[in-house]
């Protein structure tokens, strides 16, 4: 599994939804459930942190195709 802090919001959110549907399907051994839960909790926190800290970045595309801050 990839490092949570490197995940984009989208990826983290998707994985969180995946984990929940896995847990919802039941049948998992306890240890796996607890591991999944712990990862889900961290993903949820990561998403929340991303939302809380996000600041809109605005840049401009120059005529020669460079992206520079506006």
């Amino acid at each position: 599994m990839s490092d949570i802090n490197e995940l984009s919001f989208e990826k983290a959110y998707e994985e969180l939804e995946d984990i929940i549907s896995k847990l919802e399907s039941g049948d998992l051994p306890l240890e796996e459930s607890v591991t999944l839960f712990e990862r889900g909790r961290q993903l949820s926190e990561h998403c929340q942190t991303l939302l809380d800290k996000a600041e809109l970045r605005v840049s401009q595309l120059t005529a020669d195709g460079r992206v520079e801050p506006l």
Binding site: F9, E10, I20, L23, S33, A54, L56, Q60, L61, G65
Partner: protein, 409 residues
């Protein structure tokens, strides 16, 4: 050095030049209506235009009341009146007193022709429309950096989804030079910025102001974009060719920004729901397991040796009770049976038979009971038992006895 005119003097001079020119005091002019404004005072203000020039027009309430035609933007009309100068704004304009309709406006004809052509090519087909990504990381914006619309869009994006990065591809959005610039701006984003979605936007304005978005080159650039395009041009009622070609049409630039992004407030709520669900699931899981453990422990208790012993002990106790009951019953039965046998035995007691007058005969020498006459010869000593005692006798032959019936001695 000559004295300078004041503005008012010069303007009056210009106005008088118009007023003395008879050609300008009684004139018909033809063009397409735009910027039509019907003031609450009853006056009409509009612009007449063709491809190369435009003319401001005003029609006072006294004239508007008499018109059979009420022109709208895009209508081709002929207007009659005189040319005068509006001093305070320094503009010349047509003071119209009469209007005639002249078929559909030229711009509208162009619009309809291009629309029909592109539609026939399938550029508006619903199956061409690509889905807009839910979580755009990079949003390309094609608009004018100076426009209020760009600020509005930034505000919307900052509020809704500040996780996104905005890449502005600046362009003119108005005038004859605008279409090729818009095309370049779209292409440049596709080539260099790899956005997840492109917003092609312009704030509200007159139909001429928005005309660049009815340009065929712009329409084709949108259709050719590798990245999905949302258009937000003008106001809600404005439909441009660009809107028909794009993957999604937004009524305004701000609305385009909204359609391009999820709402982070909703996301936060969704996140909380997911988190709650997650905790609920693990709690349920643990509760189920805990319950199972308890149930198992209970089952285990039932099969444990200690309890089996207790169980057996109880069963032994039970058996004992049942045995006691059985025994009691058996004794009673035996007692009854014994009583029956005793009475049967009593009934069979030979002495009771003897009492009724029978006697038993034994051979005295061996006390063998004799049960028949044959076999016992004369002279054999016999014992005759009665109920009250015995008689000792000797068997005689029949003849001697017949002879000596009487008792001897």
């Amino acid at each position: 050095m000559a004295d300078a005119y004041s503005i008012a003097e010069l303007t009056t001079y210009i106005r008088e030049m118009f007023e003395v020119n008879e050609n300008l005091q009684d004139v018909w002019v033809q063009g397409e209506v735009s910027n039509m404004r019907r003031a609450s005072s009853g006056h009409w203000y509009f612009t007449l235009k063709d491809a190369d020039a435009q003319l401001k027009c005003v029609m006072w309430r006294t004239s508007t009341a008499r018109q059979t035609v009420t022109p709208d933007d895009g209508d081709e009309i002929m207007a009659h009146g005189y040319i005068g100068v509006y001093d305070s704004q320094g503009v010349y304009q047509l003071y119209a007193d009469s209007i005639r309709a002249v078929g559909a406006g030229d711009l509208y004809r162009q619009f309809e022709l291009l629309k029909a052509k592109l539609e026939a090519e399938g550029l508006f087909a619903p199956e061409r429309k690509r889905p807009i990504p839910t979580f755009p990381r990079r949003i390309g914006i094609v608009t004018s950096p100076e426009a209020a619309a760009f600020q509005d869009m930034q505000n919307v994006l900052r509020r809704r989804f500040p996780l996104a990065e905005i890449i502005l591809s600046p362009t003119l959005v108005q005038g004859a030079d605008a279409p090729p610039r818009i095309v370049t701006a779209i292409e440049r984003l596709n080539e260099h910025a790899e956005p997840d979605v492109i917003l092609v936007c312009r704030g509200g304005g007159s139909i001429e102001d928005l005309w660049a978005f009815n340009d065929e080159r712009v329409a084709r650039a949108i259709a050719a974009s590798r990245v999905p395009v949302i258009t937000g041009v003008g106001h809600e009622t404005d439909f441009t060719i660009a809107d028909f070609v794009s993957d999604l049409r937004a009524p305004t630039p701000s609305a385009a920004a909204e359609l391009a992004t999820p709402d982070s407030a909703e996301l936060a709520l969704g996140l909380r729901d997911l988190s709650d669900t997650l905790h609920g699931l693990i709690d349920d899981k643990l509760a189920t397991l805990k319950y199972n453990v308890t149930a198992s422990r209970r089952t285990l208790g039932h099969v444990a040796p200690a309890s089996r012993i207790r169980n057996f002990r109880q069963r032994v106790d039970d058996y004992n009770v049942r045995l006691a009951v059985l025994q009691t019953g058996t004794l009673v039965r035996w007692r009854e049976r014994l009583a029956a046998r005793t009475s049967a035995l009593n009934a069979a007691d030979p002495r009771s038979i003897l009492k009724r007058g029978y006697a038993i005969v034994y051979r005295s020498e061996d006390m063998e009971r004799l049960d028949k006459a044959a076999g016992t010869k004369a002279g054999v000593g016999i014992t005759i038992q009665f109920h009250d005692g015995e008689l000792k006798a000797r068997v005689e032959d029949k003849d001697s006895h017949e002879r000596y019936k009487r008792t001897l001695f």
